[in-house]
């Protein structure tokens, strides 16, 4: 059975797969994992969602910590990409809240932050964050890290 992202046409059926040149699109087109992007900088949120969708992920976004918490509870994403400096509920508070729910604390989290505080990385890793990336970083790198995390943990 051919499984595709529900928002995209099945390119194999249309014979277009060979025409795609974007690296991630070919091997990862069948991904069905949901990634929650928590980012208050709307341009970056948009760019991340475009790149992740091109890699075959289902992408859901939140622009503040409280909305992110509601999204995590309602959709139980496979991966969270989290900015730390968020309105309404800061990234570390969100991690704290998630840690109180056993089934949600298992969701792998990747931090993508502009923070220049060296303590933040240490604290994030203590909270169980799997990857810690500083802005600006390549979207390719973020996507590859997401693929690796969901493949190997």
């Amino acid at each position: 059975m051919i499984v595709t992202n529900k928002n995209k046409p099945d390119l194999r059926v249309h014979g277009l797969l060979e025409l795609l040149e974007v690296e991630e699109s070919l091997p990862n087109y069948q991904r069905l994992e949901t990634v929650l992007v928590v980012e208050d900088q709307l341009e970056l949120q948009r760019a991340l969602s475009v790149r992740l969708e091109a890699a075959g992920f289902e992408v859901v976004c939140a622009s503040d910590g409280l909305s992110a918490l509601q999204s995590v509870i309602s959709i139980e994403p496979d991966l969270i990409i989290l900015d730390l400096d968020l309105p309404r509920l800061k990234g570390f508070k969100l991690l704290h809240r998630l840690s109180l729910e056993s089934h949600l604390s298992e969701v792998p989290t990747m931090v993508l932050t502009g923070s220049s505080n060296p303590e933040d990385e240490f604290r994030a890793l203590k909270w169980g964050v799997k990857r810690y990336l500083r802005k600006p970083t390549s979207l390719r790198k973020v996507t590859n890290e997401a693929i690796q995390l969901l493949s190997h943990g």
Partner: protein
């Protein structure tokens, strides 16, 4: 489920108030640079449509220089590491 941003709202995108010095200049500088790098990369990788080779080459230069600028900002604006970090009272470290 929350939809992702489908456009750019300049009012909400402003990250630096020009009348106020940011508390963390490096953090403030990284935000717009992150957007520049992200969109240049989307264009370079042709996720917004095909490019002619010269356009791709020019975007490659933008990406390289943005990378250099990022390194430069870190060197110029990195804060001195704090000697002591207070833990907020709400936070139970794992």
């Amino acid at each position: 489920m929350s939809p992702c941003s489908s456009g750019v709202n300049p009012a909400k995108s402003a990250v630096v108030d020009s009348n106020q010095e940011p508390a963390d200049p490096l953090h403030a500088a990284r935000k717009p640079l992150a957007a520049i790098v992200a969109f240049a990369e989307l264009l370079h990788d042709e996720l917004a449509g095909p490019l002619v080779p010269l356009q791709k080459e020019h975007l490659g230069v933008i990406l390289e220089r943005a990378d250099e600028l990022g390194d430069l900002l870190v060197g110029l604006l990195s804060p001195v590491a704090p000697t002591e970090t207070k833990q907020p009272e709400w936070e139970d470290e794992p």
